[in-house]
């Protein structure tokens, strides 16, 4: 199945959810409406001609721009057809939430926790949205562009010498 055929298939299955489609050096990226991400995930997983059954990664991006500041990117793979697909969701700064896809791909669990930990993007419906890397009492989101490289003084306590 070529990228053009995948695009065609998506446009027939979920026409209203697709905001744009890009192709760069053979990689297909589809930008999805935020509210529809779970539905699109279900469709591309269950449709036998697509069968994107493996979640490779879920990650956040801080574009640091007004309006839709964040992006969440889903890299998925079809074991049956040996094809990659990238889904993208744009998120406004004032409401950094995306519905969880752990109901579709359970493997997204820790990836979404990581994205919450690093970018402060919440995933409503996630079964266990705790921080993954940083201590639980930590209050900041280190991979946001406005977080200083050397951290915020006294935000990470050390044992007394």
């Amino acid at each position: 199945m070529t990228n053009a055929e995948i695009t065609e298939k998506l446009k027939t299955l979920v026409p209203a959810s697709i905001l744009s489609v890009e192709e760069f050096r053979g990689d297909l990226t589809v930008v999805i409406r935020r509210e529809d991400i779970v539905r699109v995930a279900e469709v591309i997983k269950t449709d036998p001609s697509l069968a994107f059954d493996l979640i490779i990664d879920v990650l956040g991006v801080d574009m640091y721009r007004p309006g839709e500041r964040f992006e969440v990117i889903y890299n998925v793979y079809s074991l049956a057809h040996r094809r990659f697909l990238r889904l993208k969701v744009r998120i406004p700064a004032e409401d950094p939430t995306v519905p969880t896809v752990t109901g579709v791909w359970p493997g997204a669990n820790w990836h979404e926790r990581e994205t919450w930990d690093m970018f402060g993007i919440r995933f409503p419906g996630h079964p266990d949205l705790r921080r993954l890397y940083m201590p639980e009492e930590f209050e900041h989101f280190p991979l946001r562009k406005d977080f200083p490289l050397m951290g915020i003084p006294d935000s990470l306590p050390l044992p007394r010498r």
Binding site: Y133, M134, P135, P142, F147, P148, L149, M150, G151, I152, L156, P157, L158, P159, R160, R161
Partner: protein, 177 residues
């Protein structure tokens, strides 16, 4: 004391302190706090090729209760610092610390928010070892320096003996070979 005395009398005279220090320095049991790549060099130091047993420190114990010297070999993050400190606190006195490699000593190349920029921010250090990672010879040199320190021999700059806890300025640094 002359040697002929020993032959005649059958004993040596010395200070108790000196004997205790001599015994201590020659059987320093390490706590292998191997938390990243420096640990590989630490393991090599224990291998037959370099053979840390030559200096009485081959008994790596994975319980702090039986250890004398902690080898902090690797990058210490803020999250890990609590663990390292807790294990250090569980070691019985007297105890010493060797900070092995650039990361443990200064944060190394990880100049960023999760990495402690030197373990001396939360625990005392007796000997710092430079290198990324240090070669096994370098770690052995640090061990020998620590032995000198325990015996109370003057080291570089003639610093005072004792553990780093007793005198914070008494730590020493091993240069790269």
């Amino acid at each position: 004391m002359a040697l002929e005395n020993l032959q005649q009398e059958g004993f040596l005279l010395t200070r108790l302190d000196e004997v205790i220090k001599w015994a201590r320095k020659n059987s320093l049991w390490p706590m292998p706090m191997g938390i990243s790549c420096c640990a590989i060099e630490m393991m090599a130091t224990a291998s037959p090729r370099f053979d840390i047993a030559r200096f009485g420190s081959e008994v790596m114990r994975f319980t702090p209760r039986q250890c004398d010297v902690m080898l902090v070999a690797g990058t210490v993050t803020y999250k890990m610092a609590k663990v390292v400190r807790k294990i250090y606190d569980q070691m019985p006195d007297p105890k010493w610390v060797i900070s092995m490699g650039a990361c443990a000593s200064s944060g190394g190349m990880f100049r960023s928010y999760p990495v402690v920029q030197g373990i001396d921010q939360f625990m005392p250090v007796d000997v710092y070892v430079a290198g990324c990672p240090p070669r096994p010879e370098n770690l052995l040199h640090a061990l020998l320096d620590l032995q000198k320190k325990i015996q109370g021999e003057p080291q570089l700059g003639g610093r005072k003996a004792g553990t780093a806890e007793e005198g914070h300025a008494s730590a020493t640094t091993v240069q790269s070979a």
